[in-house]
């Protein structure tokens, strides 16, 4: 069930914009991600920083996964077909596992 964890790991080093549930938007380089989809960004810049003076001297930050609303990704860095395939495999495995009464799923991210 770690499909998006694996997906984000392929984006480490890329520029993303994380939009939080409190409307704060943070642009930065994806440094790391964990199982909860907590995100660590380097070279952080607050989009619309006039409205959010709190983080003027912050260059690296940790964002709790639970407060993320959106993650804006560069289209060129996402292989949609691979993601589509992985999702289809996962969905099939989930259906089979649900039918069999077990939910231990492993998807190999290519």
């Amino acid at each position: 069930m770690a499909i998006f964890y694996s997906f984000f790991k392929t984006l480490i080093g890329k520029e993303i914009v994380v939009e939080l549930k409190n409307d704060l938007q943070l642009q930065g380089t994806l440094h790391s991600v964990d199982q909860y989809l907590n995100i660590k960004l380097t070279n952080v810049r607050v989009v619309h920083r006039e409205r959010y003076p709190h983080m003027n001297s912050v260059r690296n930050c940790f964002v709790r996964g639970s407060v993320v609303r959106y993650v804006q990704l560069p289209a060129a860095d996402v292989d949609v077909d691979v993601l589509h395939d992985a999702t289809r495999v996962e969905a099939r495995a989930l259906k089979a596992a649900a039918a069999a009464g077990t939910l231990a799923v492993r998807v190999r991210w290519r």
């Binding site: 983080m55 690296n60 940790f62």
Partner: protein, 106 residues
Amino acid sequence: STAGPEQDHSAIWRKRAKMPEPARKSGGAAAAAEALLGEYMNAQVCVITNDGRSVVGTLRGFDQVANVVLEKSVERIFAPDAPMEEVPLGLYLIKGDNVAVVGKVE
């Protein structure tokens, strides 16, 4: 006890509370927790809470759910039409449920 500045506080608290040593789980869980905010330990950090407040302090502790202990913490209050206000808070524990962002202050 007057040990040096780098004493193991968690060991002292456990002894006082008469708690057993935590069983060392597989390195995985401990390593994952450390990767969370380990880099920011003892550094000046700015914590943005879910309700949009910002608190600056020295990061003294954290755990897997991002509960955060800040020493000498200060809340910074910004208003568009007023100068910034600082409210000293002292030693605070911010529950991870309320933590949105932890930023390292340069």
